[in-house]
Amino acid sequence: MSLAIAVALLAGVGTWLLVRGGAVRLILGFILLGHAANLVIIAAGGTNRRVAPIVDGSAPLDAAADPLPQAFVLTAIVITFGVTVYLLGLVARIAKKSPGSELEEGFESDDEGVSRR
């Protein structure tokens, strides 16, 4: 239940950011959706067993968490990082090449006094 709430929250807010548009929100929304997806995969393994799957004999096997979703999520996180970095690259390039383009729309302009430089 706790993971369901967290996933609902992360997926909902991630979607909100994506749909409202703008480059920064796009990236942040993507990151949040990534968290949500990772938690879904972890949830699929079951969260009733919560001992780290290190089989050095210190803990009984039937208490160990499912290692397979963990392996999936681990690589997914690194891939999310790779894709985020790539998205940032695209944003930076577009922002540099064509200021005021579609991707930059939706940011408050300086005269509204909240810009940080």
Binding site: A36, P53, R93, G106, S115
Partner: protein, 927 residues
């Protein structure tokens, strides 16, 4: 010798571009020599074949499916191989004279050689798979040859490609069914065992597929229209592909497979019906053409129809007649194409409306055209006449075929239609000759072309006459052809004069009727009407083509939107439909859910949620990019804390490091962008958010936490240590059990990094500007001297112990990447190879360890243990993990360089003399 003859054609294709550099369009002559040599190589085997043997050469090809690379030469393939190579010699020695010096000959010659090699392979192929491969190469190379004639060639070439491509698919289907049922891909064996192995259903599948493949290639109704369209190709291509070789491939296929269908009446009726209809239709269309090449194209359609009908008769004599017609047609049609090309070059037109009285200026051209046209028209004493008589006999003999019940009328009907076809053929043949060469000469300054230009047309024209006078020379080869197809040997007795036979009578009727049609052509056409009977096939084709395209455009339109909502909405709805639909479709799914297991949610989760909910809400409401980014970092930290509590220390560590690095990498980019404000409608965003949130939450609640550990989980936990020697099960899954997955994943990272590199330097940092001021940097640098070595040490330890305890290549790579980030921020130059080198090295090492597994362990990426002195027993998965490590480091370094402008070039002034720290992977750092 068979393989040598195919290989030498391939060599020809390879050297053609080189030769063109020196010889230009005259490259045709040496290439004609290549054809000649290839043909002579095959002829060395001919005596054996003529005495009844089959020459075979075979190599193992695809071992798994027991597919052999088999070439074989029997009567059938000898006949077609001689056509492919013989006409090839003529056309290649014609092309240099015909081609314009400005024409791009390099591509033409190369593709022509490729085509000819494939065509030769096609008729020599002794294996079904090989047959398909060569068949497809002829389709593709003929597309290139037609499309190569400029923009006007593209649409006809596309039509030809699509239609013959459909035929290719049909052939693949037929071959697959045949090979599966007969348990062999060897053509001879497959045909031999087919009668017992194929059921009536199999025949009903294979038959139509073979027919479609052959009819598309050989331009039978209703697929005929691509052939006249393909006349936009240059004349040597038309003479070679569209008269002698490519279009005969369909006939070859029908001959090859006709033993499968000897008793199948539908096969024979289809072939005879469509073939004769095409023969008459094509001949009639030819009569209406003004452009000589179009006329010849429709004539070819018509002649191919006659050949198809002859194969359809299905007697030894009819197959021999088909073989004879194949040879005769190649002789006179290639001649005519070449002569039309000559007229086109000399008189500047190939339109009958422009041409008149050319015999006065070009008597030799006129005589040769007359000779070839007479052969086509079926006049004695030319080989075309002999072929036509044999065809009449064969049609009259239909009642003797094994598939008919002695129906006399069938023979008479077929012969009668053939006579009409022959009469129309005579009429259009006469029109070529009289239309272009008789009447008043209207053009000035016309001359006979050079002998060099004429010679390639003289040879087949004379051969047509010689073989007409002495047709018995052909007895052997056409008998062997029909026998090697699988029909009982009948001694052919080709002759100009068979006495006062019924065939002679039919010939006389055809000739008389043809002459009447020729002289009354105008009134005949007026009577039929100019527009009817036009084929609607091209229009149907175009309509299907365009509606397919617009369907694709309609389907694809949703993906063209810039709106994320539109992009993802469709996917989301589809997922929802699948999930909800699954409840009703999957048996038992709707019967009720298992109860949620106890302990799925635990008290500590509440603490996490109390932290998470406000942070995420604040993030959604954040008004500046930096604030949002910091909050996103917090979200990541909270989740990694949770992962730790959930028993996933490796994942938690990875996420923690990724969050830190994301903030470091993103901060400089995002801080340059102005603060943000809502762009899209907040109502729509709100609705989407609630819908997605509720559905995802519900899905997690419904689908997870309701079953005990999966069997996979139990397997990994129970067996990991014994199988891999590692106790950290997550790491063993990454590098031992599912190494191929991980290899794919680091390839994605590699690609993302390459994408960044390819985008050029995109750092937002301005030159001379650092993230921190000089003073701040100085302070940080002091700390960094301690921090960086510590981080690298940590990376080394994490890497080393990864197999047994939390750590491993991903985590160690991220830690080392963090060290790079610290160095970058404090302005310390790090002397490392370029990111692309690190990335390539990483991927290379990972792949190399995979190959090592292949060589030493038996399968790709299979880890195995090595005993190393001092260090103890190690597994090769450590090498794989090293590759992972390097790719991650490379990615981080790329991001730091490209996005933040950190550590871009050597800042020599900053370099100090400290001893370089070495971590496990000899990554050198100079703080």
């Amino acid at each position: 010798m068979l393989a040598a003859s195919v290989v030498i054609m391939g060599v020809g294709a390879l050297i053609a571009p080189l030769l063109v550099r020196y010889l230009g369009r005259y490259t045709g002559y040496p290439l004609a020599l290549v054809f000649l040599i290839s043909g002579l190589l095959i002829l060395t085997e001919a005596p054996d074949v003529m005495s009844g043997a089959t020459v075979t050469q075979s190599w193992q090809w695809v071992e798994t499916f027991d597919v052999q690379f088999t070439l074989r030469l029997n009567g059938l393939s000898l006949l077609f191989a001689m056509l492919v190579l013989g006409v090839g010699v003529l056309v290649l020695s014609y092309a240099p004279q015909y081609l314009d010096p400005s024409y791009e000959v390099g591509r033409l010659y190369t593709v022509l050689m490729l085509f000819a090699g494939a065509m030769l392979g096609l008729v020599l192929a002794g294996d079904l798979i090989l047959l398909v491969v060569f068949w497809e190469i002829t389709t593709l190379s003929s597309f290139l040859l037609v499309a190569g004639s400029g923009t006007s060639g593209v649409w006809p070439a596309v039509r030809a490609l699509v239609i013959t491509g459909i035929g290719g698919l049909a052939l693949v289907g037929a071959v697959v069914v045949l090979a599966l049922r007969t348990q062999t891909t060897n053509i001879e064996e497959a045909i031999a065992v087919a009668p017992g192995a194929l059921s009536a259903t199999d025949i009903a599948i294979i038959g139509p597929l073979i027919v479609i493949a052959a009819f598309t290639k050989s331009a039978q109704l209703p697929f005929h229209f691509w052939l006249p369209g393909a006349m936009v190709a240059v004349t040597p291509v038309s003479a070679y592909l569209h008269a002698a070789t490519l279009v005969k491939a369909g006939i070859y296929l029908l001959l090859l497979f006709s033993p499968l269908f000897t008793e199948v009446a539908a096969w024979h009726i289809t072939l005879m019906g469509i073939g004769l209809a095409t023969a008459v239709f094509g001949a009639f269309q030819a009569l209406r053409q003004w452009d000589l090449k179009s006329l010849l194209a429709y004539s070819t359609v018509s002649q191919l129809g006659t050949m198809v009908a002859l194969v359809g008769v299905g007697t030894s004599a009819s197959l021999a007649a088909a073989a004879l017609l194949v040879a005769a047609h190649a002789l006179f049609k290639a001649t005519l194409f070449m002569l039309v090309g000559i007229v086109d070059r000399e008189a500047g037109s190939r339109n009958l409306a422009d041409l008149s009285g050319l015999w006065r200026a070009m008597p030799i051209t006129a005589a040769l055209t007359g000779l070839a046209a007479m052969s086509m028209a079926g006049f004695p004493p030319l080989v075309g006449f002999v072929a036509k008589e044999e065809a009449f006999y064969a049609f009259l003999d239909v009642p003797q075929a094994s598939w008919t019940a002695d129906q006399q009328w069938l023979g008479f009907a077929a012969a009668a239609i053939a006579v009409i076809g022959a009469a129309l053929t005579l009429a259009y043949s006469a029109r070529i000759f009289f239309g272009a060469f008789f009447g008043p000469l209207t053009q000035r300054n016309l001359y006979e072309p050079s002998w060099l230009f004429l010679a390639p047309a003289i040879v087949p024209a004379i051969a047509g006459l010689a073989l007409g006078v002495a047709p018995w020379l052909l007895n052997g080869i056409i008998d062997r052809t029909s026998q090697d197809v699988g029909f009982p040997l009948v001694q052919s007795d080709l002759s100009l004069w068979h006495g006062l036979s019924i065939a002679l009578g039919l010939s006389i009727i055809a000739i008389t009727l043809g002459l009447i049609i020729h002289f009354r052509r105008e009134s005949l056409l007026r009577w039929v009407g100019q527009e009817t009977p036009r084929s609607i096939a091209p229009e149907v084709f175009d309509r299907i083509w365009y509606s397919t395209l617009s369907l694709g455009a309609r389907v694809g339109r949703s993906a063209h939107s810039a709106s994320v909502g539109v992009q993802l909405g469709g996917v989301g709805i589809l997922l929802l439909v699948l999930t909800v639909g699954g409840f009703f479709v999957i048996p038992g799914a709707a019967d009720g859910l298992q109860p949620v297991l106890p302990d799925i949610a635990q008290p500590v989760d509440v603490v996490i949620l109390v932290l998470l909910v406000p942070t995420v809400i604040l993030l959604a409401r954040a008004r500046t990019a930096i604030a949002a980014l910091v909050l996103a970092g917090f979200v990541g930290l909270i989740i990694s804390l949770w992962l730790l509590l959930l028993g996933a220390p490796d994942v938690a560590l990875t996420l923690l490091l990724v969050e830190i690095l994301t903030v470091v990498v993103a901060a400089p980019v995002l801080s340059r962008l102005p603060a943000h404000r809502g762009l899209g409608s907040s109502t729509r965003a709100g609705i989407s958010a609630v819908v997605v949130g509720v559905i995802s939450g519900l899905a997690v609640w419904v689908f997870t936490g309701r079953r005990e550990a999966s069997s996979l989980s139990e397997f990994f936990l129970a067996e990991a240590e014994q199988l891999t020697g590692g106790t950290n099960v997550v790491n063993t899954i990454l590098v031992d059990f599912r190494g191929l997955d991980t290899l794919g994943e680091i390839t994605v990272l590699f690609a993302a990094a390459l994408g960044l590199l390819a985008a050029g330097v995109i750092a937002v940092k301005r030159p001379g500007e650092d993230v921190l001021g000089k003073g701040e940097q100085a302070v940080l640098r002091v700390g960094s001297r301690v921090i960086i070595p510590l981080l690298l040490l940590a990376a080394a330890v994490l890497f080393w112990r990864g197999h047994d305890e939390p750590g491993g290549g991903f985590i160690a790579g991220l830690v080392a990447g963090s060290a790079l980030a610290v160095a970058g921020i404090s302005g310390i130059h790090v002397r490392l190879p370029q990111p692309v080198v690190i990335l390539a090295l990483g991927l290379g090492i990972a792949l190399g360890s995979g190959l090592l597994g292949q060589v030493l362990g038996g399968t790709f990426l299979e880890p195995f243990k090595v005993d190393v002195p001092v260090l103890g027993s190690l597994t090769t998965s450590l090498i794989f993990d090293l590759g992972v490590f390097l790719v991650v480091v490379g990615l981080v370094r790329t991001a730091l360089q490209r996005l933040d402008g950190l550590d871009q070039d050597s800042q020599d002034s900053d370099r100090q003399d400290d001893e370089p720290d070495r971590d496990l992977d000899s990554v050198r750092v100079l703080p």
